[in-house]
Amino acid sequence: MTSYSPDLLRLRFKASMGLNDEQIQMQRIATEFAQKEFLPYMAEWDEKEYFAKETMQKAAQLGFGAIYVSEKYGGTGLTRLDSSIIFEALSRGCVSTTAYMSIHNMCAWMIEQFGSEEQKQHWIPSLASMEKFASYCLTEPGSGSDAASLATTARCDGDFYILNGSKAFISGGGDTDLYVIMVRTGSPGPKGISCILVEKDTPGLSFGKKEKKVGWNSQPTRAVILEDCKVPVSNRLGEEGQGFNIAMQGLNGGRINIASCSLGAAQASLELAANHLKVRKQFNKPLAEFQHNQFKLAQMATNLVASRLLVRKAASSLQQNLPDAVSLCSMAKLFATDQCFDIVNQALQMHGGYGYLKDYAVQQYLRDIRVHQILEGTNEIMQLIVSRDILQN
């Protein structure tokens, strides 16, 4: 019932538009993998709140564990655009699992970008294979959008930092192996923040209860609690005071990834809705023959294509480190997550009562992508970033 046929929607504006041969091949592999390994289990993983580590490791074997990390350290060495294409394709099979994988990918990249040679050699291979899983820890109970005001401290004591504080809403928290944690080592504000890697089972590291969420249920979310947690100074990523910068640079890419996940859900939902409209009849004709539905579909498709183009442009821009990259990434995240939520919501409406049943996939796509408008920087913060760019330049 939740499976889709490649021919289901004979859109000429497919997700493969504008891509070169290699990218189309990669997209195909990700799509086939997601259709076979994610899609049949998407509903079950959501219901049972199952963190599919083995399946993700299978994905990692294909190179999906550290897509935009250099081959030198065991990554796949592809571009941000390639990653966007891949996450969009994988999302069609399960948004939640794909979204976690994108966070994991982001952490691997942060280590590659800012880590010492030793840290890179030590961590990246096992992250690339997903032998080890990573979590990104920035948000705290007292600091969400105002991330720079974070209060978790790291006090230097000889060769160690002593960490105290707590992080909230950590994806993978409690079930992952490596925590990339932003902590305060210096003065208030962004310049006093550092980034440190903490391994699970470090004494003083514990977790809150597993949160009960509306979606993203195939990944556990927990608070990360640090109580006099002793971490070697050699686990610090980059310099003291560089942490906020590291966190934000990670998020630029993370935002493209999350937006890409929304695209996958929207494309899948659009196809499901179009198919439903062709099949469902009321007043003696298929719903697809009502102009209202036709026009709605047209709007949905237009907004999807517009979102996709913006996301891909942002990805290319980030890859080339262009001056507009940060704004574009924020715009892409803002626009795509909002548009795609509306698309999926409309797709659900087009299913009528059936759309509300868990037997149909649309509701899960909806529940899963709703949080994309909130995390990795709320869509309000995205507006702040873009407006600041406009007014300060």
Partner: protein, 254 residues
């Protein structure tokens, strides 16, 4: 002694696509339709790559006959681990009328040129369901054949081939060089990995023309018309066996 292996890779309409007959009834719609590597050929590629991994094969060459998009098909095979590809470029009307008899001669010629020890083909293509190319290729070359293979074992100078046949399972032993056609349960093909797709970029796809090979591809068969199967008619319920027999007699069925 490690074998040199040739695999056939046919580009066919993807298995999941809903086939539509062209309005002029000359064939099915192929334009803009998703195509893929024939599933049985994918199994053949997988088997060849596994032989190479076991060091029983030294080189695996994939062949595809058809228009330029066949190179995509070859790239899929390359990304699975095949060493190099050969694209026999055939287009237009020639491609529409290409039959197993022609392909078998092409494969035979290439096998001889490449000094191949083993040819593995898919048992049939999912578009024509011909199930002829492997058998014909073996005949042209006068090589032994093991078709509908579900397991292949290398022995000393021969291959022990397990075949799925109507009555069950049969074993044949074929002296090399030989032709094998893969059946469904021979293996489960791997996904190409992203790194392998990147590596495949550097692998070679040689282009050959029909004149290079000197094979005659004049059509032997003419397609008169292609039509949808008849729409299923409504049935009728009967109350008794007598009524059933009467109805069947009336319809001339018995």
């Amino acid at each position: 002694m490690a074998m040199r292996v040739l695999v056939g890779c046919k580009r066919v309409i993807d298995y999941a696509v809903k086939i539509r007959v062209k309005p002029d009834k000359t064939g099915v719609v192929t334009e803009g339709v998703k195509h893929s590597l024939n599933p049985f050929d994918e199994i053949a590629v997988e088997e060849a790559v596994r032989l190479k991994e076991k060091k029983l094969a030294s080189e695996v060459i994939a062949v595809s006959c058809g228009p330029p998009p066949c190179q995509e098909t070859l790239r899929t095979a390359l990304a699975m681990g095949v060493d190099r590809g050969i694209h026999v470029e055939i287009g237009g009307k020639d491609y529409e009328t290409l039959q197993p008899i022609h392909v078998s001669k092409i494969l035979a010629k290439l096998a001889q040129e490449e000094k191949v020890d083993l040819i593995i083909l898919g048992k049939q293509a999912i578009d024509d369901d011909a199930n002829q190319t492997a058998q014909m290729t073996a005949a042209v070359l006068d090589w032994p054949q093991g078709v509908f293979a579900s397991k292949i074992e290398k022995m000393d100078g021969t291959l022990k081939i397990q075949r799925e046949v109507d009555g069950g399972v049969e074993y044949v032993e074929a002296k090399l060089p030989a032709v094998i056609s893969s059946d469904l349960r021979l293996n489960e093909p791997r996904y190409a990995t992203l790194p392998n797709i990147m590596k495949a970029k550097k692998k070679q796809i040689a282009k050959k023309s029909i004149s290079d090979l000197g094979v005659d591809i004049t059509p032997r068969v003419e397609v008169l018309t292609v039509e949808d199967p008849p729409v299923r008619e409504a049935g009728a319920k009967v109350e008794s066996v007598e009524e059933l027999l009467t109805k069947l007699k009336d319809l001339g069925r018995i």
